[in-house]
């Protein structure tokens, strides 16, 4: 039982990160019907911006040992600064991608936008590889890195707690923006019907830009948080994680925000359970990456609209 609870905590923890990234996919898809392939890379860029900020703030990775122990104890201010900074940085990058790559091709077919998205994704990845090399880099610990004993043999580490806390906070914030603010109402209107929204006097370009900014900020938060837990980042970290997050968005019902969160958590837990119990039924832990895609194929076969999505309507 302890073992199960421990693995559940691990799974929910990964799932929370997937959920944060899936939000960006689902929002962009909801508005533009575009799979933003570069979204996983925005998550990576967020982590790299966070690394730069952390270094500026004096957290260094060159001192052996846990940084929080040597540089300063539980510098929550540092974490908040790095987190907010990287979210702003990623938001700007997300907006730039939309403005310079997606907007000019928006009038073309889906295929063109999709290829552009893949091009942007590869451009970001391999520019970073060319600049920083593809080797992993260490990310400094911004908070003290100890574990809290819950009960029995179950423990939860500080980074895990932070991931839970901050991602819940961010999701509540997002919900508030979408349902209680003017721009949120505009976003919902645009996702309902872009052309009608335009006719109603909504500046759709601004709304789309804002959506990219919001999604990118969420992904960057995911990047920094995950780097707190797995303190190694590299330019290609966004590929697989991004894909899984997209699957999470499809699982929850693409375009559906609570669905993205649910999908993320389900995939995180499913993956972890394959590692935890897979060997009992003859599945090597290496099948972990196959889980998300198996889920995707099952969803497409059985319930294409996803867990929480409404049936897909074709508009002529």
């Amino acid at each position: 039982m302890d073992y199960f609870v421990q693995q559940l905590i691990n799974g929910l923890n990964i799932g929370a990160i997937y959920a944060l990234i899936a939000l960006g996919y689902t929002m962009v898809y909801g508005i533009l019907r575009l799979i933003n392939f570069a979204h996983g890379d925005v998550y990576m860029v967020g982590a790299f911006v966070g690394l730069g900020l952390a270094k500026l703030l004096g957290y260094t990775t060159s001192i052996p040992g846990y940084n929080a122990d040597t540089v300063g104890h539980s510098l929550w201010g540092g974490l908040v600064l790095v987190l907010v900074g990287s979210m702003i940085g990623a938001a700007i990058i997300g907006m730039a991608i939309e403005r310079f790559a997606y907007r000019p091709v928006r009038k073309y077919s889906r295929m063109t936008t999709l290829i552009t998205a893949i091009g942007v994704s590869l451009l970001i990845e391999y520019l970073f590889v060319a600049w920083y090399g593809s080797a992993q880099r260490s990310f400094p610990a911004l908070v003290k890195n100890d574990a809290i004993h819950l009960f029995g043999d179950v423990r939860i580490s500080m980074p895990q707690l932070i991931i839970f806390g901050i991602s819940i906070l961010l999701m509540i914030l997002l919900q508030w923006i979408i349902y209680k603010t003017k721009i949120g109402t505009a976003m919902r209107a645009v996702s309902f019907n872009l052309n009608s929204a335009k006719l109603m006097g909504i500046n759709t370009d601004v709304v789309i830009s804002f959506t990219f900014a919001l999604g990118s900020a969420m992904a960057a938060a995911g990047g920094v948080l995950t780097a707190q837990y797995n303190p190694s980042i590299d330019p290609l970290m966004g590929i697989i994680t991004g894909l899984k997050a997209f699957v999470a968005a499809v699982l929850g019902g693409i375009g559906n925000i609570p669905g993205a969160v649910l999908g993320g958590l389900v995939i995180g837990v499913a993956e972890t359970m394959v590692v935890a119990y897979g060997s009992d039924i003859g599945l090597a832990s290496s099948y972990r990456d196959a889980v998300a895609f198996t889920i995707l194929i099952l969803v497409l076969l059985l319930r294409p609209s996803g867990l929480l999505g409404s049936t897909v309507q074709e508009k002529v």
Partner: protein
């Protein structure tokens, strides 16, 4: 018709324009250079290994050339980057063999890439020495393929012996890199030897290099209460694994192989790397004069301490240089025989004698990780079965021709 002719003429002009200016190859003085092809991953996933190896090879080349080259002929390296993709390796090696017509080939760290290249070298009958591919299959490809490092079975065995005899471990868990042949090989032979020595393998889990989170594997391993955890992976993941293991309260020794040997490990793993041991090709703390000279030269040249891959690259080039001298030319059959007859060559990573399988029997050093000092401390040396430890340090102090090419800047530390 006239249009077509016009177009053809234009294309011809273009080609002329492209080819009129040839860059002069920097052959320098001396006779016709001896061309040595090098194929490494210099910009892919394992590029840090490739770069180290390249550094070692280039340093050895400069030493050979400074000492007058091979019978007055300088050694020229043609270094190609194949980004660590086996499919590209074939093309790159084809270029080296057929286009550049090299006389010998050095290459690859990852065994998969060496396995892709070896048949091409064998087919062209050009000797190939791999500095650090440890999979036994590589040299089985043919009689033109050699290596200067020990092989996976031995490395797995070393750690099993160390765990069972020195650490007195009874229960071992394994966490292996699923996508790497290196990791699989080490796992297999560690399991064999460890069970033979009376231990049990309590759990075996895998991860992939794209994994960022290892907590579920570690939670599973923790529940089996192992005495040691063997992680035959690469430094990029190992640092994070160690950190997460210590966070989960797993404080047993972590054991690994030469894949851990990279300075980045200290940043990634930090304090969590204490109480860990690896098997490696040599120790930079070894007091042998040739090792200390190599370490000092390398530091002076590149500003960092040489890792095992740099040392193996250096050894591979020097073994080749030595063989070229003895072969008295670049005839490929003679060169192959000369490499095969390499005997008691004083390499930095141990005394190198080619055996009948074109492998070398060398001892392995077990190193203890010291994250506070960011270095691997010497722990003990484990010899292969049937090889007796030499009585004194420095198995063959008799300086070889290549070893005697001391650069004037050889400052001792």
């Amino acid at each position: 018709m006239r249009r077509t002719l016009f177009a053809l003429g234009l294309v011809a002009v273009m080609f002329l324009g492209l080819s009129c200016e040839r860059r002069g190859g920097g052959t320098g003085g001396g006779g016709e250079p001896i061309k040595v092809g090098v194929y490494l991953d210099l910009s892919g996933q394992t590029s840090s290994f490739g770069q180290s190896t390249k550094n070692g090879i280039e340093m050895a080349r400069d030493e050979i050339n400074k000492a007058g080259g091979i019978d007055g002929r300088p050694v020229e390296l043609i270094i190609e980057d194949e980004q660590g993709e086996p499919g590209k390796v074939t093309t790159v090696v084809t270029k080296l063999l057929r286009q550049d017509q090299v006389h010998a080939i050095l290459g690859e760290v990852a065994s998969t890439n060496s396995l892709a290249a070896a048949p091409k070298a064998q087919e062209a009958k050009i000797p190939m020495i791999t500095p650090s591919s440890t999979n036994p299959k590589v040299t089985q490809i043919g009689d033109y393929i050699f290596r200067v490092c020990f092989i996976d079975p031995f490395q797995g065995e070393v750690m099993a012996k160390f765990a069972a005899n020195t650490l007195k471990a009874k229960r071992a868990a394994i966490l292996a890199d699923f996508n790497s042949d290196y990791s699989k090989g080490l796992t297999q032979f560690f399991k064999q030897s460890f069970t033979k020595l009376g231990g049990t393998i309590v759990d075996e889990k895998t991860y992939t290099q794209s994994d960022r989170d290892f907590s579920s594997q570690l939670t599973a391993i923790r529940s089996t209460n192992p005495d040691v955890i063997y992680i035959p992976g690469y430094y990029g993941q190992v640092g994070v694994i160690a950190k997460q293991a210590r966070q989960q309260g797993i404080n047993v020794p972590l054991l690994g192989g030469d894949g851990w040997d990279a300075p980045q490990l200290w940043d990634l793993g930090g304090e969590a790397m204490t109480n860990s041991y690896i098997s490696n090709h040599y120790s930079i703390d070894d007091p042998k004069p040739e090792i200390q000279k190599f370490v000092a030269d390398y530091r002076a040249r590149y500003g960092v301490a040489p890792d095992a891959l740099a040392a193996l690259g250096y050894d591979a080039m020097r073994v080749l240089g030595d063989a070229l001298k003895r072969a008295g030319g670049t005839d490929s059959t003679k060169l192959r025989d000369a490499i095969a007859q390499t005997k008691n060559f004083p390499g930095v990573t141990g005394t190198i004698t080619m055996n009948a399988e074109r492998n070398v029997d060398k001892p392995a050093a077990v190193l203890e990780l010291k994250p506070q000092e960011r270095k691997f401390g010497y722990k003990e040396t484990i010899y292969p079965d049937g090889m007796t430890p030499p009585t004194t340090a420095g198995a063959s102090p008799a300086a070889s021709p290549a070893g005697a090419t001391a650069s004037p800047a050889a400052a001792t530390q």
